[in-house]
């Protein structure tokens, strides 16, 4: 039993190394991520910043915490593509014929993606600081916030893994992996206060996991109360992983093509 666990961990580590190497050798994957986010950050701050009323808070102070969460949400859409790419090549047959743990291929992708999010978040915080953003509550809560975003990213990545393994071709994965994140990002408390939305949309925005994620990280950066949103987002993370991980694993086991 103990040997089995150690082997599984070793397998996950080996697969993580493989995926990290992929990011290092195809730097454009991470680079396009970074460029997209920097462009969006500058546009949102300087185009909308003057127009949106956020109750006296500077707009960058208002939206940057949520923006960090958004970078992870967008980043997770690449996971579906990566997984379906893996499945479309002969390599998957080799992996499935090896005595490696069934969960290792998928987990390796998730762990390496978590590292990618961490890199992205740190870079975006740097850009935010250049644009005038400050963690008012200090770096302790900010540190906790960063890990909460990474955890959120992991939960979304398992959703991406499930989508990638379900659609089976790369083009579909590109669309299917991307389309669901737009309502999540925009119909939330990220860019505008929820109160400004029509009431039917407020209902969605309240349930939307991006809202408690944004509220939590915002609270951690401002030093305000996060008790209600923190539990909501942790419940979302647990729920998403609890549902999509076993489903993805089951699909992987039963692959036949």
């Amino acid at each position: 039993m103990r040997r089995k666990i150690l082997e599984t961990l070793s397998d996950i580590w080996v697969m993580t190394q493989r995926d990290v190497r992929r990011y290092l050798r195809l730097p454009q994957l991470l680079l396009t991520n970074i460029i997209l986010n920097v462009v969006l950050l500058i546009l949102f701050n300087y185009v909308f910043g003057g127009a949106i009323q956020t109750g006296g808070v500077a707009y960058i102070q208002y939206f940057l915490p949520g923006f960090l969460a958004q970078s992870v949400v967008f980043g997770s859409t690449q996971t579906s593509v990566g997984i379906s790419e893996d499945l479309s090549k002969g390599l998957i047959d080799r992996f499935r014929s090896l005595p490696m743990a069934r969960i290792a291929l998928l987990s390796g992708r998730v762990v390496s993606d978590a590292l990618r999010y961490l890199t992205l978040i740190v870079i975006m915080i740097g850009v935010g600081y250049a644009a005038g953003f400050r963690f008012e509550a200090g770096f302790g809560p900010a540190f906790l916030g960063i890990w909460l975003i990474v955890l959120f990213g992991i939960a979304l990545t398992w959703v991406g893994v499930f989508i990638g393994i379900s659609v089976k071709d790369v083009e579909t994965a590109q669309v299917a992996g991307f389309v669901w994140v737009f309502p999540l990002v925009f119909a939330s408390s990220l860019y505008v206060p929820i109160e400004t939305m029509p009431s039917w949309l407020q209902v969605f925005a309240e349930i939307n996991p991006v809202t408690p994620m944004v509220d939590t990280i915002r609270g951690l950066s401002w030093g305000t109360d996060i008790s209600s949103s923190l539990w909501k987002i942790l419940a979302w993370d647990a729920g998403l992983i609890f549902i999509t991980l076993p489903l993805a694993l089951r699909k992987y086991r039963l692959l036949t093509h």
Partner: protein
């Protein structure tokens, strides 16, 4: 019997009544095979005959609809985790990670076979050397040529020194030199009681490599045996074949030889070729030479041809392997 004459116990593969359908298409309809340890077993058949499906079932990638299959004594359906450590697979298309170097690819596979980090590094170096990839060891597989990828792929299948090596059309697309190199590798595997299970469309390949051959068509095994057994049973006859120096004499010579020939004499006037059955073997050659010499007829070539597996395939299925493959 393997090439080293070591007696290997236990059947390496046992397949009983395996069926597999994809929707309405029947890929396998009742396969029974037994493969002993220490031999090279070739599954010979045209495209679409079910060879790959059978390999995928034996390597735990696919479950049969019914029937049982054991590999190394383990049931592929109920004990796949016990089957995987003892097998190596090289599929129809090279399965290497293009973003990793050759060395990294092999080390990764070693780690995933749980042979340990040190052993993985050692084995990777060894195999790269063996497959003449040492110079490219630290280059990404993306930059490899088709033949190099194939070799890396095969090396990956050999990392754990598997007691059963599965090769799905291993030499398709290889140049002749690489093909012969691969044949050597396959033969050396059958020593030490390791077995090789390969599929091929090439009759010559099966003939050269395999201790036993099963001929497969439309999801069924239609004949099985040693290459010699197959030639004896269904390969047709030994023939004498000759080519004349002067093509214009073909008809006259064919007529002359009627009395020696034990069967129909075939002639090709354009090529100046004549052939007929020679069940008696070499003795007929002296007769021919004597007869033609007396008439002052010169021969460019004279010899006996043994039945080939092509003939076997033709006589069993009623068409050649190439014709069938061409339908796809």
């Amino acid at each position: 019997m393997n090439q080293n004459n070591v007696v290997c116990e236990n059947a390496a593969i046992q397949v009983d009544g395996v069926h597999k359908s994809f929707g309405k298409v029947k890929a396998l309809s009742g396969i029974d095979i037994q493969v002993d340890s220490g031999i090279v077993f070739a599954l010979l058949g045209p495209n679409g005959s079910g060879k790959t499906t059978l390999i995928r079932i034996l390597t735990t990638l696919l479950r049969p609809d019914s029937g049982t299959a054991t590999v190394g004594g383990f049931d592929v359906e109920r004990e796949p985790a016990s089957v995987r450590p003892i097998i190596g697979l090289a599929g129809q298309y090279p399965a290497v990670d293009e973003n990793l170097t050759g060395k990294e690819n092999l080390e990764m596979i070693g780690r995933l076979y749980h042979i340990g980090k040190k052993q993985s590094i050692l084995r990777a170096t060894e195999l790269l050397e063996y497959f003449e990839l040492s110079d490219a060891a630290n280059r990404r597989a993306k930059t490899y040529s088709g033949g190099m990828r194939r070799r890396l792929d095969l090396a990956a299948a050999l990392v754990a020194n598997p007691s059963l090596l599965f090769l799905d059309e291993p030499t398709t697309g290889l140049d002749p030199r690489s093909r012969i190199g691969l044949w050597e590798v396959i033969k050396s595997q059958a020593k030490q009681c390791n077995s090789v299970f390969l599929t091929t469309q090439y009759l010559e390949e099966a003939d050269r490599l395999a201790d036993r051959i099963a001929i497969m068509e439309k999801g069924k095994i239609i004949q099985e045996g040693t290459p010699q057994e197959l030639k004896d049973c269904c390969g047709g006859e030994t023939r004498v074949k000759m080519r004349l120096t002067d093509r214009s004499q073909t008809s006259r010579v064919a007529e002359l030889l009627e009395e020696i020939a034990q069967g129909k004499v075939n002639q090709n006037n354009e090529m100046g070729e004549i052939s007929f059955p020679a069940p008696g073997g070499t003795s007929v050659l002296t007769d021919i030479v004597r007869k033609l010499d007396a008439d002052g007829i010169e021969l460019a070539e004279l010899g006996l041809t043994q039945p080939t597996l092509d003939d076997v395939f033709l006589s069993i299925t009623g068409h050649t392997a190439e014709e069938e493959a061409g339908k796809d």
